[in-house]
Structure formats: structure tokens, C-alpha cells
């Protein structure tokens, strides 16, 4: 019995035609119908709709955001500062604990890393890892939402800026001839604010690829449809003023491309061993997209649970488990990419603020000010601790209680975009920010 009807399964050639069509259809309607929506930036030339694709950018930045204000002093531990152990009788990381593996991992005679980060020892010895101390915002807020907004928009105290700094970069560096589709993405349900804005960025669902494939197969035809008269010539579609068709098409096209890219790299095999929601599993997927040379430039991933007001723990305990997740995540990522590829990649680990130097009455710490960052990558001036350290003497503390900020996070963002991604920034890209005369220099 010969089948006369078209099969809903897609043949490869149709799929390519479909994708090209999707892009132009999505753009046609989006451009006209979605004034001041995130998709409005979509113009017919935004994504390359035919071959050849523009040469992909080689460099990638991955931001790992520790939400909740991670306790900087128990990440980059100032073990050489005599005040440290005094401030933290219950939760401090010791230099001579009962068990050797609980000892602070000494980097130099002043600083060390939390023992839960020991998976990064290889990266440190290869000079790929650089902790930066006393990073943070010039704004005094100790509110999570404000501090996170200010940092992700890279505009402290300015509530009018409503586009993430990574999204602004994507718009700025967009190719006039058309872009690769996967320039930015996140491996979670919704975009973090740093990636939110006019430039469309894919939020990869946390479901298994098989489950996603299933629904894409069902809805591909419904959203793509065959070109019909109402969709031709970039005419405004009356039935898409809410933008659902455009976002559906973008979802399908971007995910299909992502899966295609991942398939070339042996699917996600191997990641089954990793817990599904672990940072390692997310970063491994990112690494595979990077390896596929799909033109991935910016990634941002959140990890929560850093607001440790109570039972924070020391070398072991709540926060150490979170740190283990970060350490093994970064190590997995670097291992997957290999040293050669790591030269094109920068991972920045950051949080909205640090916490009080003094531990509180509940074996935890409260919202503070100065924080820290970890930079990992082949271009990083690694193997040393960056940043000016004013010390923990109570007179040197911010408002008498918190670590000071000596490096504005925007300076690190600036160096990331200019020196790592090689993008010249116009004046006002970081509104109100002046480049410090003598700051750190993170890259070789």
C-alpha cells in the first residue's frame, strides 16, 4: 500500500527550506507587528537565511551566576589574614583541620580556595584559573533584587536600563549580513536578566532531548505551516499581534539547530552519569555547543541557594556542597573542551554581593558588600590572585562590617568584552562608568 499523503515527519531538505522560511516569516511579522517587543530587533537580515553563514565568532563567554549573595570569604579564603579565623569561629575554613582534606587549598601566602573547589587544581596549575578578590558594585544596596538587576544590567543605581549587558553586546556585535542563530543561550527555563533584551536568545528547556523532540515534531508543522498568501511579502499577520507565531518559530528553529549541533558531537552521551540539574551537566552541554563551532558567544547560567543566613557550614556542609557543584562543573567543562579550545573560552563566576565578615548567631552570614569572582580560561592571566586587598582589619571594612569593593564589576565586564571577545565598546555602553586608571588586568 503506497502512501499518498505527505508524512508529517520532516525530510532534511524540507527542513532546511523550512528553516529559511521560518526565519523570514518570523521576521516579517515580528518586525511589523511587535513594536517595542524583545523581538522587534529582528530584521530580515538578523539571521543568515541562506548559505554561506557568516564566519562564526571563535570566542565565548560563559557567566555562572551564584544567586543569593555568595559568601566570598569562604570561596577565596584570606587564610593569611589573622582576622579571618577570629571573625569565623564556627564556619571558617581552617589551615590545620582534623582531616587533611578539609584544609584550605592554599594558592599563595595570603589566599586559598575552599577545599570543595579542589577539582580546579589542574586548571590552577595550567594557569587557567584566576580568582579576583573584592569585586562588586559601587552601589551600597544589600537587596538581592536590586543588586542582581544592577549587575546584570551593568548599571548600578540606574533603573532605566532594562537590557542585560550580554544582550546589549549581542546587538552591538550583530553582523549586518546576518547572524548565526545560536550566538547566545542559557541552559534553563527562563533567561537570566543579563541575557534578556531585544536580541533573541534561546532558553534551552531542562527536559530531555527526546521529550523536546516529540513536541517539536508535533508543533513544527503547526507553527511553520506552508507558506500561504497571508504570510507572503512580509505583510503584517493580523493573527500574530501577540507574537506567538514568531516565538514558536524561533523556539523550533533554534532548538532544532541546537540539537543538530549537539548530534554532530555525539549527542549528550556521557552526561547521563551527571545529575540532570547539576552545573556540570549544564556546562557539559554548553561545551558541546562550543566545540561544534556553531558561533556561540555568550552563555549565562544561574545556580541558586547561596543566601546562607543559617547553617552555612565550613569545609563541609551546605555551602560546600554548592561549591562542589561549581568546582566539578567548571572542571568538567574545561576537560570536555581541552586546553586548545579553552583558549577561546572564558568562564566568569560571580554573585551580587558578598556577606558579612563576622558570622552571625545562626552559624551563617548576612548580606554584605564586597564579593569575589573566579575567571577560568586560556586567555586569563591565571595562576595568581587578582585584585587589591584592603584587609580584614575592622577599620578597613566597608561600613565597619563588610569586605570593601576595590574592583568595579563593570571593569571586569569591560575587559571581557574588549579583550576577550575583541569588541570595541562605544561610549556609554556601561552608562556612567569610567575606566579606572590603575585597575587589574585579567588577561595576558
Amino acid at each position: 500500500m503506497k502512501d499518498q499523503e505527505p508524512k508529517p515527519t520532516r525530510s532534511p531538505s524540507r527542513s532546511r527550506a523550512r528553516r529559511q522560511f521560518l526565519v523570514s516569516a518570523a521576521l516579517g511579522s515580528a518586525q511589523l507587528a511587535l513594536i517595542s517587543s524583545p523581538l522587534k530587533a529582528l530584521s530580515p537580515g538578523l539571521f543568515a537565511s541562506g548559505m554561506p553563514l557568516p564566519s562564526a565568532s571563535k570566542k565565548t563567554v560563559v557567566v555562572v551566576y551564584l544567586r543569593g549573595g555568595a559568601d566570598a570569604l569562604n570561596i577565596v579564603v584570606p587564610w593569611g589574614d589573622k582576622n579571618y579565623s577570629r571573625y569565623r569561629p564556627g564556619i571558617g575554613i581552617l589551615t590545620k583541620p582534623a582531616k587533611a582534606q578539609d584544609s584550605v587549598w592554599k594558592l599563595d601566602d595570603k589566599f586559598g580556595l575552599h577545599p570543595a573547589l579542589s577539582d580546579l587544581k589542574a586548571a590552577w596549575s595550567k594557569k587557567q584559573l584566576a580568582p579576583i578578590v573584592c569585586t562588586g558594585s559601587p552601589h551600597p544596596t544589600r537587596s538581592h533584587f536590586d543588586a542582581q538587576d544592577f549587575m546584570e544590567y551593568a548599571a548600578p543605581g540606574m533603573r532605566t536600563v532594562k537590557e542585560g549587558w550580554l544582550n546589549r553586546y549581542l546587538s552591538l556585535a550583530a553582523n549586518k549580513q546576518g547572524d548565526r542563530r545560536l550566538r547566545g543561550l542559557t541552559m534553563q527555563r527562563l533567561l537570566p536578566r543579563s541575557l534578556r533584551g531585544r536580541y533573541p536568545v534561546l532558553a534551552v528547556p531542562t527536559r530531555r532531548q527526546r521529550e523536546i523532540d516529540d513536541v517539536l515534531d508535533v508543533f513544527d508543522d503547526l507553527y511553520g505551516g506552508a507558506p500561504s498568501s497571508s504570510m507572503e511579502g512580509g505583510k503584517r499577520r493580523k493573527d500574530d499581534s501577540g507574537g506567538a507565531v514568531a516565538v514558536g518559530q524561533e523556539t523550533i528553529a533554534a532548538l532544532r539547530e541546537l540539537f543538530e549541533v549537539l548530534e554532530k558531537k555525539g549527542d549528550l552521551a556521557g552526561s547521563k552519569k551527571l545529575p540532570r540539574y547539576s552545573l556540570a551537566s549544564k556546562l557539559l552541554r554548553v561545551a558541546r555547543v562550543i566545540k561544534a563551532d556553531a558561533g556561540l558567544e555568550v552563555v549565562a547560567i544561574d545556580t541558586g541557594g547561596w543566601d546562607t543566613h543559617t547553617n552555612q557550614g565550613g569545609a563541609v556542609g551546605n555551602m560546600s556542597r554548592k561549591l562542589k557543584d561549581v568546582g566539578s562543573g567548571l572542571a568538567t567543562f574545561a576537560k570536555e573542551l581541552g586546553d586548545e579550545k579553552m583558549k577561546d573560552v572564558l568562564v566568569l563566576v560571580m554573585s551580587e554581593f558578598g556577606r558579612t565578615c563576622l558570622e552571625n548567631g545562626n552559624k551563617g552570614t548576612d548580606h554584605g558588600h564586597g564579593s569575589c569572582m573566579l575567571a577560568l580560561g586560556g586567555t586569563v592571566d591565571g595562576g595568581k590572585v587578582h585584585g587589591k586587598w584592603p584587609g580584614l582589619d575592622s577599620k578597613k571594612l566597608y561600613q565597619g562590617r563588610d569586605l570593601q569593593v576595590t574592583t568595579d564589576f563593570r571593569e571586569i565586564f569591560r575587559q571581557t568584552l574588549e579583550n576577550h571577545l575583541g569588541q570595541a565598546l562605544p561610549k556609554g555602553f556601561f552608562p556612567g562608568f569610567k575606566v579606572p586608571r590603575r585597575g587589574i588586568s585579567l588577561f595576558v
Binding site: L202, V215, D221, D239, G248, G400
Partner: protein
Amino acid sequence: MSTPKFNPAILAISWACAFAAVVMVNVAAVSAQDRTQDAADSLQGRERIVHLLSRVTFGPTKKLVDEVEKAGLESWLAAQFELPRLDFVTAERLSRFASLGLSSNDVYDKYVLRKEGAPSRRGELSNELTGSVFVRATYNSQQVGEVMSDFWRNHFNVDRSKDSVFWTAVEYDRIVLRDRVFGSFRDMLLASAQHPAMLVYLDNHISRRPPNKTELKSVARKVRRATGSRERGEEAAQIASQRGLNENYARELLELHTLGVDRGYTQKDVIAVAEIFTGWTVDTLENRYTFSFDENMHVHGDKFLLGKTVPRQKLRHGTKEGLLVLDRLARHPLTATFLAEKLCRYLVSDEPPPVLVKTTAAKLRSSDMNLGTAVKHIVASDEFYRPRHYRSKFKTPLEFVISALRVTSANIVKIAALRRTLEGMGQPIYNCEDPTGYRDTAESWRDPGVMVGRWRFALDLVRNRIPGVEVPETLFIHLKNKNRHAMIASLAKEVLPGGMREETLRFCIDASRRYDRIQREKAEAKAMGKKPSKGKKNPKDEKKKRKPLADRFDGIERFLLGVLIGSPEFQEQ
């Protein structure tokens, strides 16, 4: 079961009919829009009804549209404001959530306090408040109240993951928001300002005058005696001196609750407001969790706010300052504009029409900030019915999920899975960390990638794969003896009373054809006593290739229903 005998000619004709029948709705839409160019520039007929219902209910069902058509749009709307806030049937459904009517004190006692050996009831409590939002939004016949509760829940957002808000939110939901959605804004503002949920969420309960020198000395002395270290004592005093004014509530009161961001106030005003509200705290004695005023925390003296003096009050009358300020803020012209803008954004368009904002603000002021009046004004305005607003809003996850439950007549038995669904879509109820509440504009939810969650939910829901939620078989009974095109038309009327795109119709036709073909093949193969012919295939390929999801459905009706819920037109309202 009508297994159709295959006659291409007849089938083609009948498909054409189906096409014509269903597309009619669409054609009507287009021609209506054309007509409006010259005349009223206003939605008419059934479209007008669907538009209204898509904004003031959690989704129009066919039954509801028919009802409104019969009653007349104006009288249906008027009746909405007269209906009791909760109908009997919904009340019955809510009766199993025993925490809903309790005071914070009792909620704490029954659900939070761990009695020896008893299991924790926190999960139950968490489900009950969230569940009440789902149940009311899905079933309650007074829909306008439910929709406006959603608006105010976000305007006066509190987050249950912050300390005691976890249990005080139950009372907050009831006495601050629901009961006041058609009342005076001033009352709601005051109720929120004095509710422990808000006081704790925005830290006002710990905001106090900074300790004076004597108090600091006594702190230092205490610590010195306890530790024997002079240094530790000084350190403690230094930390204590940081405790004082908390501007969190003051700032959000001006920025989010009343005047709007950066409008007519300065940092000095924020500090003045913070000082005025010092001492507005929570009585936690015996876990009563009620509002109390602590004289000792209050900053005494005259304050200067928004260009006017708030005169100092006599001792023990410090609350009066705050009451005066709330009153002034509630009546402030900028507040009326700010609220009008937000209401128009929520009810009309992501870009609120300026003229309507202006008239709504005026209406608010002339009605002593009556919120019911404002809503009535907006939905009765000509601007509201402009064709350009038709289906122009992208549903939030909550709106999407509830409207799907409504059109499928789903029976909500258990809450947990639904709650997780909303969490998965990024909109857990009463768990919005950001004091702005969830935004209801498209740009907040239309991230590429999110559609996967919606599609998956649609197909899971219709297959009864959401634990504790059942789409009844009765929904499909009247479809049983219909031919395919009539079935599609009938489903579309239920799910998409606002009209169906040509592409969606075509898709449904193709899908049902395919389904029938596969059924036929199966039947034929069975008759011939062998498995369906698949040709010779490599067993490895066979293993790799999964059956398409469509073929894993029991019946085509449920599959098509899921498809319609996942369609672009269903994402919009």
C-alpha cells in the same frame, strides 16, 4: 465508531465544507476589521464578546460566550460586579483547604508549629493557598474579581519564601487583596501597609531609629562582659550602630505601590518615608502575627516629605504620621496615573493607550480611587474595543494554564503537579522574589524556548498525564458520531472561540487523516492476521526511531485538543 469508507471525492468535498465552516469565524474577523476602517473602528458581535472575556476572565469557553451573547454584553458585565465573590460550587471545592479562612496565628498553630511526632504540614499549607488561586481562577463564576486579584497580587507582591510570609500570606491574600479588589485603593494600600506579610517581606518590621550613644554603650558593655574582650564589645557596638533605618518598604511604597518609579520623589523623600514608618512592626508574641506599633523604634520629630511637612505627633500617636502619608500618597495625582497606566497595560495592551490612561486616571480621582469604577471605565471605553487590541496580549504562564484548564473542563483534584507546572514555567504563585511582582507583558514571557513547556503541558493535560488533573471523557461524547471535519469545527469552537488560523485548521485535517489511515492499516493488518506492515527494516533503526507522539494518543480527539491548546492563537488573548 464510524470507520469511514474511503471515497476520495466525497471526502474532498466534505473537507472543503469543513474548511469553509471553520474559516468563517476568521473571515468574519477580517471583514469586521475592514468594516471598522470607515465606521466605528470597534470590535463587533461575537468578537467583541470574546475580546472582553479574554481580558476580564481567565479564558472564554464556548459556553460562556454563548451565555454572554444571550444575556447581552453590558448586562453580563454589570452582573459580574454584583455576583457574590465566590459561588457555591467553587466554595465547595475550596472547603477542603482548611487553612484559607484562618488567621495567621491559627495557620501557624495548625500548619507550621511541629507537634511532637506529627508530620510537617508545611507542604499542605503551601499547596492550599496556591491551590485556592488555581481553583478560583478556573471555576469561580465571578471571574472579574479573580482576574483583578491576580493584578493586585502582583502589584502588592509578597514572597512566601521569605520567613513568616510563608504562613501570613494566607490571611494577606484574603483580607488585603481579594476582599478589596473593587473597593477603595486607599483601603487596600493601608491594609497592605499594616499586614505582617508586607511588613516582613519588605523589612519594615525591623526598620528603626538608629540606636543612640547610651544604647550602643550598653551593647558594648554586654558583649565585653560576656566575652571578656574589649575589642569584641566595640565590634558589637559598631555592628549595632548599623542597625537602623531600613529603606526597603519606603522605596517600594513610592516606587511600586503608589507614585511609580522616579516620579516626583527623591532619595530624601525615601528616607523621610522610612522614618515615618519606623515602629510599624509585627507583634510576634505567641505567634500572633498581627500589626503593632513600637513607640521605641519610631523616629520622632517633624518630617519633610514631597515638599510638605508631616508634623510630629504626640507620644504614642506615631502611627498617625504613617496614616497621613498613606492617605496623601493614595490621593496623589501621580498615583492615579501610575495605577491607570498599569491597569490599562493589564487589561488593554502592553502599550497602554495614552488617552485611555488619562481618562482612567481622572475616573480614579473623581471616584475617590475606587478600583471597581476604574475597571468598569476601562472595559466600557471605545478604546478597549479597538480591533488592534484583539488577541494582542501574550498570555502569562498562569493565564495559559488556567485558560487551558477552563476550555478542557478539567477537574482539579490535586494541586502539587499544577503548582510544579507553574514553577517550571517561571511563575510560581506567591513566590515572586522581585517586589515588582510578575510582569504581565509579552516581553517578560516570550523567551524563545518557553513554548516547549507550554506544548508539553498541553499534550500532557489532554492525556491526563498531569497528576491530579483530569480532562473528563464526557468532553468528547458529543464528538463520537461526528465526522472528522465536524469534530474539528466543534473542538475549535470550544478551545478557540476567537477564531482559528487557516494553518491550524489544515494541520488538524492532516492529522486526523493520518490518524484514520493508521487506524485503517492496523485494522486491515489485523484482519489479515499479521502485524502492521512496516517493510523490512534494520532492527537497529527500528529501535532508534520512536513512534511520533501523535500516534501514541488513544484517540484523535484528545490529540487535536492538545494541539489547539498549543496553537499560536491560544497563547494570545
